[in-house]
């Protein structure tokens, strides 16, 4: 029976992914919120873009990396959502309750899923492009 080689996690991509999430998700969210907060909108929730910004970053990592890099954006997004959880609690001055914890866990899982799926799509596109070039 064939056994798949045990590919270690590329922590450089985890770090890069985390930085990309912070720069292209958290920073724009912050800028957007700063602009909208004076209009009494719950803009930070809007500004998080419900994972829309997570997908292109996951895709970018999957597409840009040479090997199969699906787990790395997932891990990066997981670390990012942990940071985001504490950031949100701090920024919105919300108490840490069971409900917030449950919501946050659902969020983390969804973020992980979005990043992994988009990275998988990125890998597929990369493989197809390589196939075209080779052909």
């Amino acid at each position: 029976m064939d056994q798949k080689p045990n590919v270690p996690i590329d922590w450089q991509w985890v770090e890069t992914g985390f930085c990309l999430f912070v720069i292209f998700h958290l920073l724009p969210s912050f800028i957007v919120t700063s602009s909208f907060s004076s209009y009494d909108l719950n803009a930070f929730t809007v500004a998080l873009w419900t994972f829309i910004a997570l997908a292109p970053i996951g895709y970018f990592i999957g597409y840009r990396s040479t090997g199969v890099t699906i787990l790395e954006p997932g891990l990066a997004s997981l670390f990012y959502t942990i940071v985001l959880l504490f950031g949100l609690l701090k920024l919105q001055n919300t108490a840490f309750t069971f409900a917030t914890l449950t919501n946050s866990l659902i969020w983390m899982f969804a973020a992980f899923l979005v990043a992994v799926v988009s990275a998988w799509v990125g890998e597929k596109v990369q493989a197809r492009n390589k196939g075209k070039t080779a052909g």
Binding site: F24, F30, V32, S34, S35, S65, T66, L91
Partner: protein, 250 residues
């Protein structure tokens, strides 16, 4: 050998900038006051640093329109407000796209990343993402807002119709109460009152009698549409009507 790191997929010159910007962002987000504060990023009373200059512009236009409507002469636009809009426009529509496109184009042409490429690409990218993506999402969410507004208007119209119908039945019941029994009335009481068939049912709702006592009658109108709106009306012998609104369980 790790096949993933055979060649650098992101040029090494980007790494310190990525780390620096990420740490700077975390520091800004975690070390500044909560996001709810209105005074944040309001550099002065008039000037506000924003990448959405059309927001303050819209605010000023609406505010001036309301002032004119109320007979107050609108305030002229101040220098601070002009600066808000000019700097916002320059940042969002000129500086961001220029940094991004020029750096990206030159990098692609020369194939060698220069020292200024990473900050230009990252800052330009952040400005472009911040400016372009939220309006698209907000525009998409407007459909939901519009639909919700329509629903509220429909519900309000339906509620008005039901209140009108209950009022009509209430007035009919009051007439019944003051009439003597020889003329088919209640002779000083609501007891024996029946809602007539033509007032009982309409296309939009049904009306029924819940309770008829000496000095009080209780009526209920239930919506026939999907809104499940239910209004209970109490009519006293003095002619005072009180309405209670709720959504039915079914």
């Amino acid at each position: 050998m790790n096949h993933k790191t055979d060649r650098p997929e992101i040029p090494a010159v980007f790494r310190p900038w990525l780390l620096f910007l990420a740490l700077a962002t975390l520091a800004i987000v975690f070390l500044t006051p909560g996001l709810g504060g209105k005074e944040r990023h309001q550099v002065s009373k008039e000037f506000q640093l924003t990448v959405f200059p059309w927001m303050p512009a819209g605010h000023i236009t609406i505010s001036n329109g309301l002032d004119t409507f109320s007979g107050i002469s609108p305030n002229p636009i101040s220098e601070g407000q002009r600066a808000t809009m000019l700097i916002g426009l320059v940042l969002s529509l000129v500086v961001g796209p220029t940094l991004l496109l020029v750096a990206w184009r030159q990098w692609k042409t020369t194939m060698v990343p220069r020292r200024w490429h990473p900050p230009a690409l990252l800052l330009g990218g952040v400005l472009v993402v911040s400016t372009m993506v939220p309006p698209v999402i907000l525009a998409a969410s407007q459909w939901n807002a519009l639909e919700s507004m329509r629903r509220v208007q429909d519900l309000s119209r339906e509620r008005d119709l039901m209140i009108h119908a209950l009022g009509k039945v209430g007035r009919d019941a009051l007439q019944f109460r003051i009439l003597p029994s020889s003329l088919g009335g209640g002779d000083g009481t609501f007891r024996g009152y029946r809602v007539s068939e033509d007032m009982k049912q309409s296309d939009a709702f049904s009306c029924e009698l819940i309770m008829a006592a000496d000095t009080m009658i209780t009526l209920r109108a239930v919506s026939a549409s999907g809104s499940r709106l239910q209004i209970t009306g109490n009519v006293s012998s003095a002619g005072v009507m009180r309405f209670d609104f709720q959504e039915s369980e079914e």
